[in-house]
Symmetry: C2
Subunit: 875 residues, 2 copies
């Protein structure tokens, strides 16, 4: 049987979205519902994929089917391609499975040629309309299909307007446009070496091919990456009979929503313009009217329109975004789709639709994009201000929100100036743990280097602070205290504004506004919590973060990194004494100083969570991270510590590592220096006893041993911890429950999880490191080559942002299976950055983890993603 | 049923080696053969394991069984523990499954106490003997069982000898020894706070426990690691009635071999001493006689002895190493085991035993340790010189052999001085690829940093040059051009000698000798080749190495690293131009310069191998490895290259990586700069065409894409190569076969091998990197903490030397299975350092790989290991 690559609108329906694309499926569905839709057909996504498989060639098979469908279209419309009596004009539009607005190409008025344009002029009695359509078509076809620079055509229009002394395109006459048409054709001939194609069938096939090709244009690739759309989906192409909103005063065009997409208010919302085509609305030369005006202008049409809008909303059970055209008093719907909406609107609409009985709670849960919740939790730029601003650079959208302030060049400066109530944005080549206080003080953080999981990005997300990372086009001169972008120099007196959601950087002051969280949020999230099976914890290192996360609904701490506490000003010295110790005894003395501070940290976190479980990870980073690197700093620290420069320098050199990521860190530190683990275990348990005694919270501390790769390694450290815990409990004469488990972040741990589970009472998948080791690339270095990988379509997603289910996910599955085989009740969670990514959360749900843990500001997102996963895949 | 932990000698046999240990099983076997063996019993290895499982406590169950067996021993011997008529004395000796000479502890004369010593004096009419035995027992028991310092006892002996004005222990009288005994008991009491135990049963249980404990002493742990003996084997303990060779002139003791262990000559070989105990032979105070003298001295005893030796050799079908004692004219065999032998002897004995019809070739193949072959291929120290030398330091035995020369501090110096016929040893903190010419010129290489797979180690092994790596106790002052060890300073005028087999470093000149390879080698290796199924290739980057490997029997090149060629003096400049190129065009110009050089390299290698397959890996290291690091060098290079310092410095900075091992390297370079892969593919194919045309060798180049983690990545680079190859073949109008495959060295590649195999025609397991990624530690950094891991018995083996079958091996197995599922005929090999490790070779054989590839000097070893694997596990 011959494969069907082309469907007439009346042959499809809404369920065929994957094959026909969103637009095509909805055009088919509307056709079936009896809604006035200009006739047409859809070339399938499979034809697009075939085009790529065949080496970017459209096959005869597909061409023939297009011609067959075209013939049918001619039959039903009574019009004919190239006819001098009743010529058929069509639009050619892309339509992928997921909506990708503005990402791909559209060609209108296809079918016009030198002969047809005359016929049109006569038929419409409107030569200006005919020639304007023709010149637009030549321009679009040349640009979109033939890749001729748009500018060449625009220059001609500008020249002509100048010559005629007029301001607007609309001031040009039919004769002027006729001249333009012949000039445009000359440009075409000059650029392509052949005449502008006069055969509408050639125009059509070339245009369809151009749409296929546009699936792989750079901006489409980037859009797909940002929106998790796989490249293999392909796009469909819709060929549809043209209708004209610019045929005079009884014609018009409009874009409307069945509810307000900004607020969610239940009221038809939109704009229309009479005697105009879609383009004119966008161009902004004439001001469109609110759709409510149509009711006054043409009540009959409005009534028909309103009826169809309601039909569509009821049919799709969601807010609809529609495109309409009125041609000489006849209403057409050119498109309908579920409308994009703001986060506020999404919540209101979801809650309203449940209350109206249109949706169940489970269905409503699917109506809000988890990532949208981000915008509810962070400041945004004031829209009016933003409209006027031009970005000066673009980095990675590392932590959402918007921030504005004067430039601070060091963390210390940021802290000091913020203390004087100045708004500052901290700009650094990259941040390090020592910068933590400045990062807290700053409104936003901008770094030149580093990716989505760089120190700046991770810490900023944790704090909910806006951050743009890896903005390589900015040149920072730390000595002169300036930054330079595009030839312009900014000092600490200058404002910059950064948008952590888009990655945009602005060289000016832009006002920010903090969103209000409505009651709908609570209602909606309540439903999410009812539905989901996967628990959501948070990654929090401080009582403040833990508190914040608890307010956002975290059900515990999944990862408390103990090393961040080590950098605080009041304890880094003790930590450094510990590191430079000559022997165990000296080290123990230094650790004794750190003990009470760690204990206080843990008390704070336990109290913030009021007895919810807390997973505390033992010291993880290599020790050299706590020491300075350059001779200057070593000198001054040596002095401070009462060591000789040579002594300290030698320590620093001895601790130097070629690949710190794979160095002396994690549980390897505890193997070499068990006294560190002892101190931490003591602090964890003493704090739990304190909180139990004074506040009555029954904390069950979960002590997590990082970077385990071998059961004996885990056993060794576990024994050290257990001995300490038991003796603390004996000293204090208090018994409490606790768990000892491990992070699974080394491939070998996953591969030998059956053995590891003999000793581990819980696994927490550290998917950041597991991703690094599984892919064999360091997240700090990968940004250098990942862009080449995206360009060449090798990777479509940043594996540090979205869990790689094929490779890393395979290891996680192996570990889950093997771990449960040994210890059926083992508690399983994930604490990598992926815990806050919706598709990764879904994966965790599907493979049966108990919880995900993510940064505080991502907790709501994870709760929603978990609920959606349960609706999609009940477990 | 009660588990049996103790076996009388007549209850066991040779097949029970795992349970009874080697010594115990052989004592049982000899007993059954009717050979005169003093009676006794063996406490099993399971009892040892139980001791550790029970938390280092010997259980009552085991104690009771020992007491029961002791009672039986008393019955059969007619002697009794502590008896004042006929007291039983026993020896307590360890005996593990594998022989570990000198590694664990022995206690002799157990059963003596203040009363028994008197009885013995009377019974033997030899009070001197009795008291000498007692003082020895106290000394041994105190040292071995009670951990009292030996020195304390030796001091007393020295004091006494001085006081008496005598030179030798043997000059001390019975009365002197009696005094010593009481002084020894005082020391014991002072040290332990209690009297020396008088109850022989207490002495016995304490001693058995001490032997169990000694299984885990540091030197035993190190020995096990060097000899691949798992910790969980445990040791057995043999308790045997004492016989005395020191009871007068009709008594004696000896150590004999059924053939000469140094040469393999078929002649009973050994030494004996009358009126002596084993200890005396070792102490070297009296000179033992060759065993042939015994024939003259006591022909009757000798005849019995010779008969038993022949019986044992025929029974065990191998050269035996035996211990005998003659007590008052009665001959006893205290031990027999397959004798240790030199490599030369091992080969001769194996070949002779086959010729004598005692062994089949398959059995003979198992009689030579693969690692022994190393000593046949490398120089060794002249034994007489070595005896007089004392090591000044010890590093890692990174590449076998011995070397002696004056110290050279830089590679350039080594090269220059070697050119003047001076023998030099290159001493560096660590080596880098730029040092290659100096490394070739030096007799040996000594580094302060780096492990078994550091640059120095890998390159040295490849060249067959002796190397000691990671010798941290040496302080190198590169400015003063001195090294300091233990307070002594050495300059470039001083000789040092290094032993790459032991890791020893000597601060003096020691003569080296080059071994002769006998005809037995060829015969024996011929059998190995007949038997084995696994092919053996070599890792070789130069024609010279390839040639050497071919002489050693390599069947092709499994890994030709193309980057080593990049460092040669005549091309590094072109490589640097390539790296500092501003755009593709500039880069292509630089690559054009490199092309003819690469082509010449490949021609050389193809020719050396005369048409055998050659796997060539595309450029692998990150580009910054080719640029200098410090400002000085950058400055001078910038000048040389006509760049500004700032420009070059910026390039160096931009290329800097946090974790180079996980950075922009391997196929990632080819993705970013496909023109590099193009140039290399062109050189590979042009060279093959050249060699085919001029020499008639039909080379099938195997182009290997490194560091692949994702199928699309492989596909991209493969397409680049394929296009180049096809166009080269078209240009030259020659067709030839070639293969494109990949290294499996990233966990994700192994996990997705079913996908990878769609594009890869072969897999070569890069187990060096795969080990790093699977364990999550960098081989450059791991040496810092691995020693802690060995000390704490977490790892018993260096996973970079011996393939970790549990974790890394699991990934290899997954990849083999998945790869074969997609492409049943896929060629599978291994090219990591593990290709030259016998147990890893066996693993590769067992999982069905097609070949292993190792450095040239390990090829014979791998051939033998492969044959042994086939004998052990037919496939």
């Amino acid at each position: 049987m011959v494969k069907k690559y082309v469907y007439l609108f009346n042959e499809g329906n809404a369920s065929m979205r994957n094959l026909l694309g969103g637009k095509g499926a909805n055009l088919a569905e509307m056709t079936n519902l009896g809604i006035p839709v200009p006739t047409g057909f859809t070339v399938t996504t499979e034809a697009c994929n075939k085009y790529y498989e065949d080496g970017k060639i459209i096959s005869d098979e597909v061409i023939n089917q297009i011609h067959e469908s075209l013939a049918k279209l001619e039959d039903t419309s009574g019009k004919k391609f190239g006819s001098d009596e009743n010529p058929l004009l069509v639009s050619v539009r892309s339509g992928a499975r997921a909506s990708m607005p503005g990402m791909m190409d559209t060609i209108l008025n296809l079918g016009l040629n030198d002969k047809v344009v005359e016929t049109m002029a006569k038929l419409t009695n409107n030569p200006r309309f005919a020639y304007d359509s023709y010149r637009r078509f030549i321009q679009m076809f040349s640009d979109v299909v033939m890749d001729i620079e748009k500018r060449l055509f625009e220059n001609k229009i500008d020249e002509l307007k100048e010559k005629k002394g007029v301001e607007f395109d609309t001031d040009l006459t039919a004769e002027d446009l006729k001249v333009l048409v012949s000039e445009f054709k000359e440009i075409y001939k000059k650029e392509k070496g052949e005449d502008f194609p006069q055969d509408p069938k050639v125009q059509l096939i070339e245009s369809v091919t151009a749409v296929f090709r546009s699936w792989d244009n750079p901006r489409a690739i980037v859009y797909r990456r940002l929106n998790d759309i796989p490249g293999e989906w392909g796009t469909a192409v819709n060929v549809q009979q043209m209708v004209f909103g610019n045929k005079g005063d009884t014609s018009g065009t409009g874009v409307v929503f069945s509810r307000n997409p900004a607020t969610g208010e239940k009221l038809i919302y939109g704009e229309y313009l009479m005697n105009a085509q879609g383009e004119d609305v966008v161009a902004g030369i004439r001001t469109p009217l609110p759709i409510s005006k149509l009711k006054e202008q043409d009540p009959k049409i409005y009534q028909q329109f309103e009826g169809i809008v309601n039909t569509l909303e009821n049919h799709y059970r969601d807010m609809q975004d529609m495109e309409i055209t009125i041609e000489e008093g006849k209403l057409y719907f050119l498109q309908t789709r579920n409308g994009k909406r703001t986060a506020q609107a999404a919540l209101k609409i979801a809650v309203d639709l449940v209350e109206e009985g249109m949706l169940t709670k489970e269905e409503a849960i699917l109506k809000v994009e988890p990532k949208q919740l981000d915008t509810l939790l962070h400041p945004a730029f004031y829209t009016e201000d933003l409209k006027k601003a031009e970005p000066i650079a673009k980095g990675l959208p590392a932590s959402p929100g918007a921030a504005c302030g004067k430039i601070a060049f060091t963390a210390e400066e940021a802290k000091d100036r913020a203390a004087l109530d100045e708004d500052v944005v901290l700009v650094r080549l990259e941040t390090s743990p020592e910068d933590i206080e400045g990062m807290i003080a700053a409104k936003g953080i901008l770094t030149v280097r580093g990716g989505m999981t760089s120190h700046a990005a991770v810490v900023a997300r944790g704090m909910g602070t806006c951050c743009v990372a890896g903005c390589g086009t900015i040149k920072v001169d730390e000595v002169k205290r300036t930054i330079e972008v595009g030839g312009k120099v900014y000092t600490d007196k200058d404002y910059i504004s950064i948008d952590g959601t888009s990655g945009n950087v602005y060289g000016e002051k832009i006002k920010t506004v903090t969103p209000e969280i409505s009651g709908h949020f609570a209602t909606f999230m309540g439903w999410a919590d009812e539905i989901r099976k996967l628990k959501v914890r948070t990654n929090a290192d401080t009582p403040k973060d833990a508190q914040q996360a608890a307010e956002f609904g975290a059900e515990g701490v999944g990862l408390c990194r103990t090393e961040h506490m080590f950098f605080a000003e009041d304890r880094i010295m003790a930590v450094r004494q510990m590191i430079t110790s000559k022997d165990e005894e000296q080290r123990r003395r230094a650790l004794d100083k750190i003990l009470p501070m760690q204990r206080a940290d843990f008390i704070g976190i336990y109290e913030a969570l009021e007895g919810k479980p807390v997973t505390i990870r033992l010291l993880d980073p290599p020790l050299h991270e706590f020491l300075p690197n350059n001779n200057e700093d070593i000198k001054s620290l040596a002095k401070e510590m009462g060591l000789s420069f040579e002594e300290l320098k030698l320590t620093v050199e001895n601790l130097h590592e070629f690949n710190p990521m794979m160095g002396h860190r994690g549980c390897r530190l505890a193997v070499s220096y068990p006294e560190i683990a002892e101190m931490q275990a003591r602090a964890i348990i003493e704090a739990a006893i304190e909180v139990k005694t004074t506040k009555g919270f029954d904390v069950v501390p979960e002590i997590m041993i990082p970077l385990v790769g071998e059961i004996k390694e885990l056993k060794y450290v576990k024994d050290v911890i257990k001995d300490t815990v038991e003796s603390v409990m004996e000293e204090k004469n208090v018994k409490l429950d606790y768990k000892i488990g491990t992070m699974i972040e080394i491939p070998r741990a996953a591969l030998t999880a059956d053995k590891i589970a003999k000793e581990a009472e819980f696994f927490s998948f550290g998917t950041n490191d597991l991703t690094q080791m599984t892919f064999g690339f360091s997240r700090d270095d990968a940004s250098k080559f990942l862009s080449d990988y995206y360009d060449k379509k090798i990777y479509e997603q940043d594996p540090f942002a979205k869990l790689d289910q094929t490779g890393v996910g395979e290891l996680v599955k192996i570990a889950v299976e093997k771990g449960r085989a040994t210890r059926p009740g083992i508690k399983l969670g994930i604490c990598g950055e992926h815990g806050g990514d919706p598709s990764s959360v879904e994966f965790c749900h599907n493979i049966g983890l108990d919880y995900v843990s993510c940064s505080p500001f991502r907790v709501p997102l994870a709760r929603l993603a978990a609920a959606q996963a349960q609706v999609k895949n009940k477990r």
